[in-house]
Structures are given as C-alpha cells and as structure tokens.
C-alpha cells in the first residue's frame, strides 16, 4: 500500500496529470478531449497518460481510432482514507488535550479555595 500511495502522489504531483484526473472524475473521456485544453504536443500528453496508467489511476481502451480513458477509483480511495486517518488523529488529540487542560484547571481551582 505504501508504494501504491507513493506512486499515486507522484503521479498527481504534475499539474497536467492532475487536470486529467480532475476531468476524469466527472466521467470517461477520449484522449482528444483530454488533450484539447493543454498546450503541449500529443506525444508529451500521451506520456502523462502513461504515467497515470502505470500508477493505476486510470485505464484506457481503444475503439477504432479513438482511445477512451477511465478513472480507477481505488487509489483515490487510499488518499481519502489517509486524510480521514489524519482527521481522526487530530480529533482524538483535541479530545485528550481538552480533558487534560480541564483537569489542570480543576486542580488550580482547588488550590485557590
């Protein structure tokens, strides 16, 4: 899983690839459609698609002369779980911090009574 997540983050570290992923989240698209907004040569663009495929983020298939690209949900799910864990971790920290600070506060009050 660690390597998978690593590949995932490096795959979407590039702005072109990130834009492709964002487009594909809304639904499958042809290479032509995906390439259109990017001012780069098609072979360069295809290399970005290849990186995303290698990372398991997208898959593609060819029908006639048209290649269609789909998103793969699993790696995105891993990133989401990572974020959820971070949030759970910090929620737990705040709970314990509040308990401890309130405990100190009670001791202070007793001391001044």
């Amino acid at each position: 899983m660690t390597n998978h997540l690593d590949t995932f983050f490096s795959a979407i570290a590039d702005p072109t690839r990130r834009a492709v992923v964002e487009t594909l989240i809304r639904g499958p698209a042809t290479v032509g459609t995906l390439h259109a907004p990017h001012d780069i040569a098609l072979p360069t663009f295809l290399r970005h698609i290849k990186v995303l495929e290698t990372a398991g983020l997208v898959r593609s298939h060819k029908t006639g002369r048209v290649r269609t690209v789909h998103i793969e949900a699993a790696p995105l799910g891993e990133a989401e779980r990572w974020l959820t864990r971070q949030r759970q971790l910090w929620e737990g920290r705040v709970d314990r911090l509040a308990d401890l600070a309130e405990e100190l506060e009670k001791i202070d009050r007793k001391d001044t009574e």
């Binding site: 690593d6 983050f9 992923v21 990133a79 989401e80 971070q86 929620e91 705040v94 202070d108």
Partner: protein, 158 residues
C-alpha cells in the same frame, strides 16, 4: 492550489495558561499527543524559534519510533505555537522520508481567551498538496468510520 490542511477548533473549559502548559510541557504533552495504546516515552521541546521539537512514539512491544527531530518555528506564550517536522533544530531541513506514508507536517496551534475558557484551534499542514485536489474533486466529507488496523496505520503516520 489549496494546501492540505486540517483545521480543528474546540472550546476548552480551561485558561489559556493551562492549555499552553499542555502544549509545551513535555510531561503533559506525553499524556495527550498519541492515541492509546501508543506511548510517548520522550519529548523534547525548546520554546524558541529554531529550537528542537521532538516527540518519540512507541507501539506496545515495538521499538520507539525515533525519527529526525522537528523544529519550533514560532512561539507566542499562551497564544500560539508553530512547529514542523520538515526542519530540524536550527531550521536545518530534514532528509526526505523513506516511508511514503509519512508526509511532513507542520502544526500551528492557537489559543484565544473565550467564554471564560479557551478557544483552541489546531491546524495540521501537510506536504502533499496534490492529495487535496483529489479530495476536493471527490466531494470528500469528513468520515468517521473506524477502519480495521487504524491504530497501526495511525502510528505510521505520526
């Protein structure tokens, strides 16, 4: 692009002075920083910009996870403390993590007097700006499901 930041606020029924102690005194930090059953055998903190910030965690029956120490960035007593794992003492950058699940974090914690107690806000900033793009694009909402093996995973991400 948005950075990957988690923000959590809480009204605490304790004075800013007492919350500050919990954030800055090693013996108190040990009591709240890690989730049970993770222990915190050692904490070092030098409350000055460039000072050391080091928290050692330990899973039951395992060796302590003693990584590169972090660095205190900003100290406003009873108001705000910021420390980071990306830099070591003296602001010297730490080497990259070998475990891809470990992303450098900066913690920014502020205290405001509020309703006779303290409004505490913790911001956790992470060095993975790309992740938030995926997160926003998916319409991610805070999930609360406890996942199997969560603690072990948590320990790895600390």
């Amino acid at each position: 692009m948005t950075d990957l930041t988690l923000t959590i606020s809480r009204q605490i029924a304790a004075s800013p002075a007492n919350v500050w102690r919990c954030l800055t005194e090693p013996d108190l930090l040990k009591r709240w920083f890690a989730p049970d059953p993770v222990a915190v055998p050692e904490v070092e903190i030098d409350l000055t910009p460039g000072g050391i910030f080091r928290i050692v965690m330990q899973m039951p029956g395992q060796d302590p996870m003693d990584g590169d120490p972090g660095c205190v960035l900003l100290v406003e007593p009873e108001r705000r403390i910021v420390w980071t794992a990306a830099l070591g003492p003296g602001f010297v950058p730490n080497p990259p993590h070998t475990n891809a699940d470990d992303f450098y974090m900066t913690a920014d914690m502020t205290l405001e007097p509020s309703q006779g107690g303290t409004l505490y806000t913790a911001r956790a900033l992470h060095a993975t700006p790309a992740a938030v793009t995926a997160h926003e694009a998916m319409g991610f909402h805070d999930g609360w499901g406890t996942t199997a093996g969560q603690l072990e995973d948590l320990a790895k991400t600390l």
